[in-house]
Symmetry: C2
Subunit: 280 residues, 2 copies
């Protein structure tokens, strides 16, 4: 590892090294000079929000985002009410961690449904209920477009442009968008939509991983280590930076069982190297 | 099977029932009153173009499209020249079958490349070389957008809008686009792009299958039987019909090993039933 690495913007999403607990992740990042972590609700809840916040703070780090709220698409009123309640708790947790952004995976089609328009409308309706609550707690909601291969079962929001269409119905300080390289790299409109997101002050978070094939069964856990795939990660970093994101966190989020089987600290070190080689 | 089925627009893509030879497919379709077939080059070449054409004609059917040309993205001049030659042969075969349209899968990124813009430019360059040759032979080139999960390894053209951006550089009688429900259903712009395709006289072919999850490893063979998934197939049929496609072929193309293991004729009968129930 070169001593000239500038890791000042790097953040590690915990799911990338889920073999590490929150304190272990914070400690490992601190030793490598990585200043940020992205957390997930389940391990935070296990540890307790205050303890997790303290572990990160004591290591001298900050929490760049919390994953995840969302799943807004149910047609059942009781299930919908439960989802909104759960999202209010997620907002509380985000505030408790001192994280600025809560990532939202909007939800797929309800079982048996073909009504994608209806599901998309319910996403907007849920944001309308949650955005003021989030704003009162100093949290911005971050609408994430997932790759279209997840459209039916995870997220009916499939492009950066569509996430902006949704976010722009709300004040920019209340609702932003995720720019996740893995989910949007294939989009012929990606560069113009990144420009639009930046110029509107809507970029909540920039996440990276790499696109590799063949995709595994279920496609969820097929993300590649930085540099192993075909995404123009440096170009995309330059594109977000050019529209106001310069200096802000770059969060590495890789779902890959191959990384989970290895020593977590070694994975962190490799990410720092790959980040320096392929992103900076 | 009801006797009131109107199958006058139905076409079966051979890959859907690849256990059937071209003559068996033609015979099975004729027995069920299905008037069209979509063919693939390999089985046609095995049988010979003239014999394949005769088998379809003798059964009283027509060939609605030939799959497939394309794979235009190589950076190597020799490989590129081979691809263009092969596409000229595919055009000859399409003409020999009396099919109006040659389907094109544009190709993915060359091994190790991250230059998706460059790959897309090479697709346009190849079309410029091939379109006049195709037109001389009475064949229209049909640019197909594949689902973005195939962007790196099969097709850098990922949306209907992008396929139109490409096709519109050429005369409408020379280059059209595929509307394939499976590949585009998730797109928030799908309805406006179908309208654009129809109003410009660009719809070469309408293909259907259904979107089901979980996707299998490699994702290629995960298409669902009509009605088993979440695509609004009736709405999409009405949408293409409303912009000039009424009366033209609706080609069923399903890649699914579960269908290949069954009796081919039984699969054809099931498709006719599903088509009547979910598409008409």
């Amino acid at each position: 590892m070169s001593t000239t690495q500038d890791l000042s913007r790097l953040s590690i999403n915990q799911r990338t090294v889920k073999q590490l607990s929150v304190p272990e992740l914070a400690d490992g990042c601190a030793r490598l000079g990585i200043p940020g972590v992205g957390l997930w609700r389940e391990p935070v809840q296990e540890l307790g929000v205050e303890a997790a916040a303290k572990a990160v703070r004591d290591a001298g780090l900050s929490v760049t985002s919390l994953c995840r709220g969302g799943f807004f698409t149910s047609e059942d009123p009781a299930e919908r009410a439960r989802a909104l309640d759960d999202n209010r708790r997620a907002i509380d947790e985000t505030a408790g961690l001192g994280a600025p952004e809560l990532c939202l995976v909007s939800g797929g089609l309800p079982a048996g449904s073909r009504d994608v328009d209806g599901a998309r409308e319910r996403v907007v309706d849920a944001l309308a209920e949650l955005a003021p609550y989030a704003a009162e707690h100093g949290v911005r909601l971050c609408v994430e477009a997932l790759h279209p291969m997840f459209a039916s079962d995870r997220c009916v929001v499939t492009t950066l442009g569509q996430s902006l269409d949704i976010a722009e119905r709300f004040p920019a300080e209340q609702v932003g968008v995720m720019v996740d390289a893995y989910h949007i790299w294939w989009d012929p409109q990606v560069w113009e939509q990144i420009r639009r997101a930046g110029e509107g002050g809507r970029i909540s978070c920039y996440q990276i991983s790499d696109w590799v094939t063949p995709l595994p069964e279920g496609v969820l856990l097929g993300r590649g280590q930085i540099g192993d795939g075909c995404i123009e990660l440096r170009r995309m970093r330059e594109a977000v930076d050019a529209v106001g994101y310069a200096g802000r966190p770059i969060e590495v989020e890789i779902f890959n069982p191959g990384l989970w089987e290895r020593d977590g600290f070694a994975v962190l070190r490799e990410i720092a190297e790959r980040y320096s080689a392929h992103v900076l």
